[in-house]
């Protein structure tokens, strides 16, 4: 079991550019979650999918952020026109239908310069 895999681990992007982050959940897990972590705000929920369907995106900024889960083996978080305030660690987690535990990846550290 490889755990939740996130790529890239680190990404530096210029202001105004696009950033795409990938997440591969644990095989067989039906739910995928995205969180953002910063020193100031801590861990913020962004969005989650169950069985590839978007269930709750209440934490997603209304502009520039989007998430997809085109198949059960990966999800993407896309940030358009990145801004310095988007700099954060983006964490992906997955869980199975019958369990109550989130399993986290190691995160993708995004730095916008």
């Amino acid at each position: 079991n490889a755990g939740v895999i996130q790529t890239p681990r680190h990404k530096v992007t210029g202001k105004g550019q696009e950033a795409t982050l990938w997440c591969e959940p644990i095989s067989g897990h039906s739910a995928v979650f995205w969180y953002r972590q910063t020193i100031v705000q801590g861990l913020e929920f962004l969005t989650y999918f169950r069985n590839q369907a978007p269930i709750d995106d209440s934490g997603m900024p209304k502009e520039r952020f989007s998430a997809q889960m085109p198949n059960q083996s990966h999800s993407t978080l896309k940030i358009q026109s990145t801004q310095p305030q988007d700099s954060a660690v983006y964490l992906c987690a997955s869980s199975c239908n019958s369990g109550n535990t989130l399993y986290f990846g190691e995160g993708s550290r995004l730095i916008v310069v």
């Binding site: 861990l43 709750d56 987690a93 869980s95 369990g99 109550n100 989130l102």
Partner: protein, 113 residues
């Protein structure tokens, strides 16, 4: 609103000493509660979880936590801290179906020799 508060941003203990990290929750109903640990440059790892039942739950690496409904608390304890416990600890409450979690701000644990 459902929330978690960790009143101590930083705790410093001597190696071999006992430890308590505090967590207070606000939740209507019976909460599902979790403690996660984050080591440097890594994702979150589950330490232990509470489901309605025995108020004292055992976790990995000698950690335990006690749920108190009267105090709205879920404090984490360890009898003897090791230097490898140096990390950030997060308390969380499940705030929706499908395992959506709301996290506290985290407590940085420093261990001194």
């Amino acid at each position: 609103a459902q929330s978690v508060t960790q009143p101590d941003a930083r705790v410093t203990v001597s190696e071999g000493a006992s430890l308590q990290l505090r967590c207070k929750y606000s939740y209507f109903g019976t909460p599902y509660l979790f403690w996660y640990v984050q080591y440097p440059r890594q994702g979150l790892q589950l330490l232990l979880k509470y489901y309605p039942g025995d108020p004292v739950v055992q976790g990995v690496n000698g950690f335990e936590a006690e749920f108190s409904k009267s105090n709205s608390s879920f404090h984490l304890r360890k009898a003897s801290v090791h230097w490898s416990d140096w990390a950030v600890y997060f308390c969380a409450v499940r705030t929706g179906g499908n395992n959506k979690l709301t996290f506290g701000q985290g407590t940085v644990l420093s261990v001194i020799p």
